[in-house]
Amino acid sequence: MSEYSHAIIIRLVMGIATFATRIIPVLVLGRGKNVPDYVLYLGRVIPYTAMGLLIVYCLRNVPVLESPHGLPELIALSIVTATYLWKRNTIFSVVTGTLVYMILVQFIFTI
């Protein structure tokens, strides 16, 4: 098998697997317009749990026990929280928090 055909097969397999996780719940739980009440309930309430899941997922590799002990993340998240509560502007908070974080990890908490 040539290198490129192997690369294409890998891509297709990973693409199908990714698509499967996005489409199987729909095929199983709600194909038509009549969606069970229980699924609608989950749909209303899951977004409120999913952000916590995603935040933990994003931070899963932060080394809490080693230097710098997650300090850059803590500082940047505090800035995101404070600016958001102050201005309620997503773009402003995301840009400010990310710039601060990039400066922290590139120039201040260098190992």
Partner: protein
């Protein structure tokens, strides 16, 4: 609103979608460039990066896929992609109600439902006076176009563009945090928000970084199911 009105896309819809997508678009272009550069370093040019971004369209899976492209086992590649993407099961379930009237468009909406698009679209029906259906499609499309465009740029320009973007991925964490805060402000019942954070964190401690998402989702759905009466009681979530 009749069917014809529903399909019209106005400048207002485009503006609203651009506004929502803008933080994601900037980050996706930068991260996409990083992906394109990485691919080029492994001998795969811009066409390959663009192809991957269309076939797979998942940042984490695509970065991991690079390791499999030349020598990896096909079965392991599939299992790895399933493990990483399992969280999307969770997201798709919660869009079933919202996308049920989208007709054929829903296949694209689900295919391109990445974490960031989900975070923006699971919030509400979109800004006031905006055609929700068009708005959702545009946000989804703008996000993917940015990712594909970034991957293409990175693949074309390669090392010329090799600026230090370390830390840019924090933008995703920041984005999810702002959505979390807005939900916290809007919700009367904070049990789901705390449940999401706590269950996932505890599962991370118990199962480690590779396997924690699936048990976390099972626990969350279990608790949501058992506590349905309490959560849906007056004073609970009510955003329909």
């Amino acid at each position: 609103m009749n069917n014809k009105d529903k399909q019209k896309v106005t400048t207002k819809d485009i503006k609203a979608a651009l506004h929502t997508s803008s933080p994601i678009m900037v980050t996706f272009i930068v991260l996409g460039i990083g992906y394109g550069i990485l691919m080029q370093e492994h001998g795969f040019g811009p066409v390959w990066s663009v192809l991957s971004s269309i076939i797979i369209y998942s940042g984490t899976v695509q970065f991991v896929s690079v390791a499999f492209l030349s020598t990896g086992s096909v079965i392991m590649a599939g299992i790895t992609a399933l493990m990483i993407s399992a969280r999307h099961i969770f997201f798709s379930i919660s869009m079933i109600g919202r996308y049920r009237n989208e007709g054929k468009k829903k296949w694209y909406l689900y295919y391109a439902l990445c974490d960031e698009t989900y975070a923006m679209l699971s919030k509400d029906d979109g800004p006031d006076g905006v055609n929700t259906s068009a708005y959702r499609l545009l946000v989804t499309l703008f996000d993917q176009i940015s990712w594909v465009f970034g991957a293409f740029l990175g693949g074309c320009l390669g090392s010329i563009l090799n600026f230090d973007s370390t830390g840019i991925d924090f933008a995703m964490t920041a984005l999810f945090t702002t959505v979390f805060l807005q939900q916290w402000i809007d919700a009367k019942n904070h049990v789901p928000a705390i449940l999401g954070l706590a269950a996932t964190f505890i599962c991370l401690l118990i199962f480690g970084t590779d396997f924690f998402l699936i048990p976390a989702m099972i626990i969350i759905i279990g608790v949501l199911t058992l506590a349905r009466k309490k959560i849906e009681a007056p004073g609970g979530e009510d955003d329909e």
